[in-house]
């Protein structure tokens, strides 16, 4: 009977350690182990074990039909949000390059009017990409910058307007309301927008990542996750919990600090990397 006593305590512990180290969290780790134990395989066979484990992990990423980029109308507005330092501005540069290479006319909106040199930072990226960026003066209302950018994008026949926002803690309601205001401002001109709202999440984040996703989703609704800094040693396992429990698909991965260090999220290679 391949089943309940198939996995010894030592193997179970080893499996649990791999999963915990990957930041999947204890409850998720226990669920995965239960599934693997029940699997109809030879649990003593290393290859079959790995295959079963990978299959179980991939089941958390069940939103493959929602993973593709959805750009509605023109200009399609894509909003990048997330906590401080997660990699939003850099991800926008990478995402913009990707769209430009697909022949799309891209414009940036520098709606981080708060942090020191945020405007200079996005301007450098826009310059490197040779794409227009609409920015405000430091301390300006982010929603007003979004408004100006949207106006400009409409008049300049832009395909995609990408909005950078200031980092913020999801526990600060007034900052979360600020994001709502940006979205409402865009909706005044086009109720079909934004086409996408991406949570940019640092892959070294632990279980707090779920709280981040929950809160941002509650306030503004998220359509996808960008998981950054996957070129480090963190596995980004919190993404399993986010996609499974919140129904938000992981769409892109950040793999470094340059333009090309960006790719579409592939559950198969992600799960493969997690168990290695």
């Amino acid at each position: 009977l391949n089943g309940l006593n198939s996995l010894g305590t030592e193997e179970t512990e080893e499996l649990e350690e791999v999963l915990l180290q990957a930041d999947v969290g204890l409850e998720t780790a226990e669920k995965i182990i239960e599934e693997v134990k029940k699997a109809d395989i030879d649990h003593k066979n290393h290859n079959e074990m790995n295959a079963a484990l990978k299959k179980t992990l991939k089941e958390f990423f069940y939103l493959d039909d929602k993973r593709a980029l959805t750009l509605k109308e023109k200009p399609s507005v894509v909003l990048f949000v997330g906590v401080n330092g997660s990699g939003k501005t850099t991800s926008i540069a990478k995402f913009s390059k990707m769209l430009s290479e697909q022949g799309k006319k891209v414009m940036l909106a520098g709606c981080d009017t708060f942090r020191a040199a945020a405007i200079e930072q996005i301007s450098v990226w826009a310059g490197r990409l040779d794409i227009p960026v609409v920015k405000g003066f430091s301390g300006a209302d982010p929603a007003s910058v979004a408004y100006d950018a949207h106006e400009s994008a409409l008049s300049k026949n832009i395909d995609c307007l990408i909005i950078d926002t200031a980092g913020r803690q999801h526990t600060k309601d007034h900052l979360m309301e600020e994001l709502k205001k940006i979205i409402n401002t865009i909706r005044k001109k086009d109720t079909s927008q934004p086409s996408e709202v991406f949570l940019v999440l640092d892959s070294t984040t632990g279980q707090n990542g779920l709280s981040q996703a929950q809160k941002f989703n509650e306030f503004i609704g998220l359509t996808g996750v960008v998981l950054t800094k996957m070129d480090g040693t963190a596995k980004g396992g919190i993404a399993l919990r986010i996609e499974k429990t919140l129904g938000i698909p992981v769409k892109y991965i950040g793999l470094g600090e340059e333009f090309d260090d960006f790719c579409e999220f592939d559950p198969d290679s992600f799960c493969e990397a997690l168990i290695n």
Partner: protein, 290 residues
């Protein structure tokens, strides 16, 4: 929260006297879940649970009238002692040169300003050095931070070498009669060997008396890996944990202390320069235990 859980777990024992090993196992399972949810590294959790278990079995918790409260008190004390100890690492007047290091986006540049402000308010003359030549507008960022706080910043946009800039900054520090030099560096991965070589070289040329590993408090299990790696490369003296104004429990504090032996010295509690505090182990423990 844990206290209520234990009150419930142990309340059936009142009148029956002794805690059994089974009761303790149940309680420890809850502790384990709480600590893992708080992002304490699982290896550290294992050791900690064992310590608590041995402590409980050998103590008067077992025969106490309020075992739940006693248990929590023991947990608390064990964790506080886990986080305390080691050299007190706040800046002294002869800590002239301070090096800031850490992973990308952890809060180094912002924290340079925070530390500078604290020292400036103590009447000291501060110089900050912009040694991140890698991130777009990094020098602008530190200069703006310095301008806002009226703290001098040394930068050289013509020099394309972080080590040379650090060297020049030390010269400016000495010639300018400053009390403290705070050196900001680029975020880097512990697995990026050329960047780890760079930070080692910076350390060699500036010879800092304090090296702070600036870490994001919402870091998960990977905290032990990166901290261990940075510690082996630089032998940093202390940790600054940032973004504690969020709702992360901050278990990384325990993991980092455990694997490096280095204490958390300061914490960042917001984006403004004033949002900076000295680290108190007992406050952190209440937060981690939820």
């Amino acid at each position: 929260d844990l206290t209520q859980k234990f009150q419930r777990l142990f309340k059936n024992l009142r009148g029956h006297g002794k805690l059994t090993e089974k009761n303790i196992e149940d309680a420890l399972r809850d502790v384990r879940l709480a600590l893992l949810e708080a992002d304490v590294n699982f290896k550290v959790v294992k050791q900690f649970i064992q310590k608590v278990k041995d402590g409980v079995l050998g103590s008067n918790v077992v025969t106490s009238v309020t075992p739940g409260q006693q248990f929590i008190k023991m947990l608390n004390n064990e964790m506080v002692s886990f986080l305390s100890g080691g050299e007190p690492e706040t800046i002294k007047s002869n800590d002239n040169i301070i090096l800031m290091t850490g992973l990308q986006g952890s809060g180094k540049t912002t924290t340079c300003g925070k530390l500078g402000l604290v020292l400036k308010r103590g009447g000291k003359k501060i110089l900050m050095a912009a040694c991140d030549i890698h991130r777009p507008a990094a020098i602008d960022q530190l200069e703006q931070v310095g301008k806002r706080l009226d703290i001098d910043v040394f930068a050289d946009r013509a020099l394309n070498d972080a080590v040379k800039i650090a060297e020049m900054a030390v010269r400016r520090f000495t010639d300018g009669g400053y009390d403290h030099l705070i050196v900001d560096t680029a975020g880097r991965l512990h697995v990026d060997s050329s960047m780890m070589e760079e930070i080692k070289k910076i350390k060699t040329v500036i010879s800092p008396s304090k090296i702070y590993f600036v870490a994001d408090s919402c870091t998960g299990q990977d905290a032990v890996v990166s901290a261990d790696s940075f510690h082996k490369a630089l032998d940093f003296t202390g940790v600054i944990l940032t973004k504690l104004d969020g709702d992360t429990r901050g278990g990384a504090a325990i993991s980092i202390k455990h694997v490096t032996g280095r204490p958390v010295v300061y914490v960042g509690v917001g984006e403004k320069s004033q949002d900076f505090e000295v680290f108190y182990p007992d406050r952190m423990v209440s937060r981690i235990l939820g």
